[in-house]
């Protein structure tokens, strides 16, 4: 794609995560195209979109689990390679190792990054550190249990502790609460916000639940394949793009927010922009309200945008 620096703002180099003009295709099927994104340190960035739009693919690209077909992804100015400790991850399932107890699961990262000798010398130190995180998750009493003995919510809390002990620069979460029942889910959302405030984490949170995304995020990205561009309405092999990008006001970390009218209005807007197959915005008129958002456009699109 012929990329031209965009009319709004060239991606700031200060961003912790910088994604520029990334495309991902599996064979002839284009999943993501022209993804431009800057995420600042401390942001809790949620990503929503219709199912199958490539949210998880984007997360795996940032994680390094898969490579983009074209474009670049930088963390702290460095191109991402294989998965490594500066990017933590929590999946919906399979985050925990079934053969290790809760404590061993949390200590594992520390052990793996230590040299052979340090593993013996620093063992008590590691356990103390694990205790700190497990205390936070209110799980210290369960430290000798295996993952299959825990409830879904507890398992995800262990997964959080396991990821946080590595102090990752960015925590990637792929529908982490998707398999939990509604009560536990709400509980975990509030809990995540507490952790986010305590540790000043940068979080990239993929979910299909719009309410969850709006409630949790300081910023919401809407990923969708429902948009229009100059390739004509019949062009079918369109990859998903970021069709909207809103900053979200963090009023209070209470679930009461969910009942406010403003909250509902925003959700309706996003539902239309991202999830309605008949509502097609042109690439030059996306709702990219967040101050960090930018677009790389083709020459024609660029001209058209300036023309308007």
């Amino acid at each position: 794609m012929n990329c031209v620096a965009n009319a709004l703002e060239v991606g700031s180099t200060k961003a912790l995560l910088h994604v520029e003009d990334v495309c991902k295709a599996y064979g002839p099927k284009v999943v993501l195209e022209n993804i431009d994104l800057n995420v600042r340190q401390g942001e809790l960035c949620t990503v929503v979109g219709p199912s199958g739009c490539g949210k998880s693919t984007l997360l795996r690209l940032i994680l390094g689990q898969e490579r983009p077909t074209s474009g670049k992804i930088l963390i702290d100015g460095q191109p991402v390679g294989m998965p490594s400790p500066e990017r933590g991850v929590v999946y919906q399932k399979y985050s925990l190792f079934p053969h290790l107890s809760v404590l061993e699961n949390v200590v594992l990262g520390k052990k793996l990054s230590a040299s052979f000798l340090e593993r013996f010398k620093l063992r008590t130190h590691f356990v103390e550190e694990a205790k700190f995180y497990l205390d936070k998750m209110r799980l210290w009493d369960h430290r000798h249990k295996y993952p299959h003995e825990l409830s879904g919510g507890m398992q995800q809390r262990v997964a959080l502790a396991q990821a946080l002990i590595m102090k990752p620069e960015i925590l990637l979460m792929d529908e982490p609460f998707g398999a939990l029942d509604p009560g536990t889910r709400e509980h975990m959302q509030v809990f995540l916000l507490e952790l986010w405030e305590d540790f000043g984490m940068t979080v990239f949170f993929v979910t299909h639940d719009l309410e969850e995304a709006v409630f949790l995020g300081t910023r919401i990205l809407v990923l969708s394949q429902f948009y229009s561009d100059d390739r004509g309405p019949s062009f079918a092999n369109r990859g998903a793009r970021i069709v909207a990008d809103y900053p979200l006001a963090r009023s209070a970390s209470s679930t009461v927010v969910k009942e406010q009218a403003e909250f509902g209005k925003l959700i309706q807007d996003i539902r239309r922009e991202g999830f309605d197959p008949d509502y097609l915005q042109h690439v030059t008129s996306f709702n990219l309200r967040h101050s960090d958002s930018f677009q790389t456009l083709t020459q024609e699109e660029y001209d058209e945008a300036n023309h308007r």
């Binding site: 994680l63 689990q65 294989m82 998965p83 490594s84 400790p85 990017r87 933590g88 991850v89 999946y91 399932k93 399979y94 985050s95 190792f97 079934p98 053969h99 594992l108 990262g109 793996l112 990054s113 295996y146 993952p147 299959h148 003995e149 396991q162 990821a163 590595m166 990752p168």
Partner: protein, 277 residues
């Protein structure tokens, strides 16, 4: 509907006591049938060798197990058992070790897998007994030939099992381990290996039957001791009073080995059964 009819229906719920009783029933019937046949045959011809009485078998067992053999100066049943179990342990043990290392590397490293999976699959299909003559020519009719037969009979199956098992480890877990600072080597040997260990023990358990088959076959053909050797030796004298206790003893050994491996899995890997769901 009557209770008796229920037992044969699909809604039957036999209690644990009933289960045990009806489970033992066929065995009891079999033993009674043997005793009856044996009694009438011996009644007709006291020198009959085909269906020895229990007393006769106990006598023979005493001679084999608790009397020193005059020629070799050993307790025959003991020395037979020791050499047979040694062969099985060496053959299956080395097959388990090689199968584990080969299978996990093939499963985790796609390049290695692509290179060796076809040939391993090919070899696993060759009936081991068919190449027994080749093994005897190559490795001699001594210990090595017999151990090699057991080894080759099990190693390819175990390798394939370990390959498929390590492939079932979710991709997410491997990525997760990398984000926790694991090297590729550590992913294979510290994250995946401990997870497939219980499955290895299960694979060994399932290979035990085949291993016994290969052991007895190779001992029958060329050996100077071993349980299989003894059975085939005394066959010449129609010594059913030795053969039957030996077969029972082999079954017993197999059962113990199987149970030990089963207990080892549930004791060392308590998460295995539950987490597999």
């Amino acid at each position: 509907m009557g209770n008796r009819l229920n037992f044969l229906g699909i809604h039957a719920e036999p209690s644990s006591r009933v289960r045990m009783l009806v489970g033992l029933l066929p065995l009891v019937v079999l033993i009674c049938a043997y005793l009856t046949v044996s009694y009438y045959r011996l009644h007709a011809n006291p020198r009959d060798k085909l269906t020895p009485s229990p007393g006769r078998m106990i006598e023979a067992t005493k001679t084999m197990a608790f009397t020193k053999d005059q020629r070799t100066g050993t307790y025959l049943m003991l020395s037979d058992t020791v050499s047979s179990v040694k062969r099985i342990a060496m053959g299956l043990g080395s097959a388990a070790l090689v199968g584990l290392v080969a299978g996990i590397n093939m499963g985790m490293l796609p390049g290695i897998g692509a290179t060796f999976l076809p040939i391993v699959t090919f070899f696993s299909i060759i009936p081991p007994l068919a190449i027994l003559p080749i093994l005897f020519i190559l490795f001699g009719v001594g210990e090595l030939g017999k151990v090699m037969l057991i080894f080759l009979g099990a190693v390819f199956i175990i390798t394939r099992d370990m390959y498929y098992t390590s492939r079932t480890i979710p991709r997410e877990q491997i990525v997760k381990a990398l984000t926790l600072g694991a090297s590729q080597f550590e992913v294979v040997y510290q994250v995946v290996l401990p997870q497939i260990m219980p499955r290895l023990l299960v694979a060994v358990r399932l290979s035990l039957g085949a291993a016994w088959l290969f052991l007895i076959a190779s001992e029958a053909i060329a050996s100077t001791d071993g349980l299989g050797y003894r059975i085939f030796l005394v066959r010449r004298y129609l010594a059913m009073d030795v053969i039957i206790p030996y077969v029972l003893w082999i079954t017993c050994l197999g059962f113990v080995m199987d149970s030990v491996l089963k207990l080892l899995v549930s004791w060392k890997y308590p998460w295995f059964e539950a987490a597999g769901k």
